[in-house]
Symmetry: C2
Subunit: 237 residues, 2 copies
DNA sequence: CGGACGGTTGAGTCGTGTCAATGACCGTGG
DNA sequence: CCACGGTCATTGACACGACTCAACCGTCCG
């Protein structure tokens, strides 16, 4: 498929990195990049491993985790469509990447991207911008973990999913039903929120009884009224 | 003072950004940069303000905070000598920067650095590298806040100060006494650790009774035995 | 249909926050 | 130089929230 076509219909085409890449005259995306399709629950980047590639997520959600000595692991970030993957830094990282859902990634070989970064300031600027916005996001999340109780944490996370994956973010606006699928299991929600599964479950129940959300099955979520969620996350207790 | 002299004796000269800057032939640091001297407790970057400058910390500690609606604020990061300040990103940030101690910063005008970044891939690479290592540090700290109890958190922070500010990091190795000064008050320690002042105080007492540390006055700290601190932070409970 | 897994619900404990009082440090002014 | 006051730090008693342990339930597979 010619790269013009592939990118034009790509959900990630609006991202900082992709905007720059598609504008670069000497980059033939169709020839250099490759769409990786990965099922859920697969490890993309192991601890202290370099990737060998650099990619932009086209669809799906990737969780970034750090493993603890006791065997448990904590989720320290989530990557959505448009975000890039694959550390461009030389230093090996303690952060691992694992697919939370089925994922499609548009991948370039690491060496190819490294060359581009050295030659093209606009690209490194785009990558820098995203790294800084990731950093900002991580710091804002630290505040949630620090100042907020269990209910507020759950509300903040569900609200985030609603905003990034909910019907408003979807391509087909015709979709009348505002039901969408959570990319994480209860256990993963707990790992991200630094809570136990039981507490997460209880707080979801509370939000349900408040009339803010509706839960269908294990992963289905409907936001009936965003206002209580916003109120909870805005005014940290 | 000629820039060669100033940089040669600068404590920050080993940092990624400075290494690149001093190697750039067209940069006359002495002409473009300016050493800012700021007393403790001064706001460097307010909320949603752009800085107008870009700088590398020469001495002192800067705390990065995010303000909450309830008036309280949380510390989300600390910047030490060698780290850069001043967001190069276009987006205004919710993160504020405030001096924790007396601070010296080697500052460049924002416009000057922006031009350099657009022209010089090595510099943007250096900035990108530090942004990514800041990101990694923020994520590792999230794990501390998430998985660790009060004692472990305090131990982790004191150990970090010991490593970055302690006698081993000092220029004059002749200094026999391993006493050093904490850059943060108890209240600030609490804000960084997401604990209360009282809890911080109690845990410091515990560490003292373990024989790991000795506290002199309000800010003096002596690490008598790093081992218990390392053990506490390594094996998160 | 039945097992297995993930999720929900309940009772009890422990840790940290809260509130309140005391104590130590460090400026200021006499 | 010392007395004083304010701020910061320490210590104690108590309450509340989240974790732990344990049982149950629903859903999704074979």
């Amino acid at each position: 498929m010619p790269e013009a076509h592939r990118c034009q219909s790509c959900p990630a085409r609006g991202s900082r990195v992709c905007r720059v890449l598609t504008l670069m005259p000497d980059v033939a995306i169709g020839r250099e990049s490759m769409i990786k399709r990965v099922p859920a629950g697969r490890m993309l980047v192991g601890q202290h491993n370099r990737t060998g590639w650099f990619g932009v997520i086209v669809s799906g959600v990737v969780k970034l985790t750090i493993g603890c000595e006791d065997g448990r692991q904590q989720i320290v970030g989530l990557q959505f469509p448009g975000d890039y993957m694959g550390c461009t830094g030389a230093a090996p990282s303690a952060v691992m990447a694992e697919t939370a859902t089925k994922v499609e990634i548009c991948c370039f070989p690491q060496t190819y991207i490294e060359g581009l970064l050295g030659r093209n300031p606009a690209l490194s600027r785009a990558v820098l911008d995203q790294a800084q916005s990731d950093l900002e996001a991580a710091r804002r999340w630290m505040v949630v973990l620090g100042h907020c109780g269990a209910l507020e944490r759950v509300a903040a996370l569900l609200l985030m999913f609603f905003r990034r994956l909910g019907p408003s973010a979807r391509q087909h606006a015709v979709e009348a039903d505002d039901l969408f699928e959570l990319p994480l299991s209860r256990g993963e929600l707990a790992e991200y929120l630094s809570l136990t599964i039981e507490t997460v479950s209880r707080q979801i129940k509370v939000l349900k009884e408040m009339g803010a959300i509706d839960v269908v099955g294990r992963r289905g979520l409907r936001v009936l009224d965003p206002a209580p969620l916003v109120r909870l996350t805005g005014a940290e207790a």
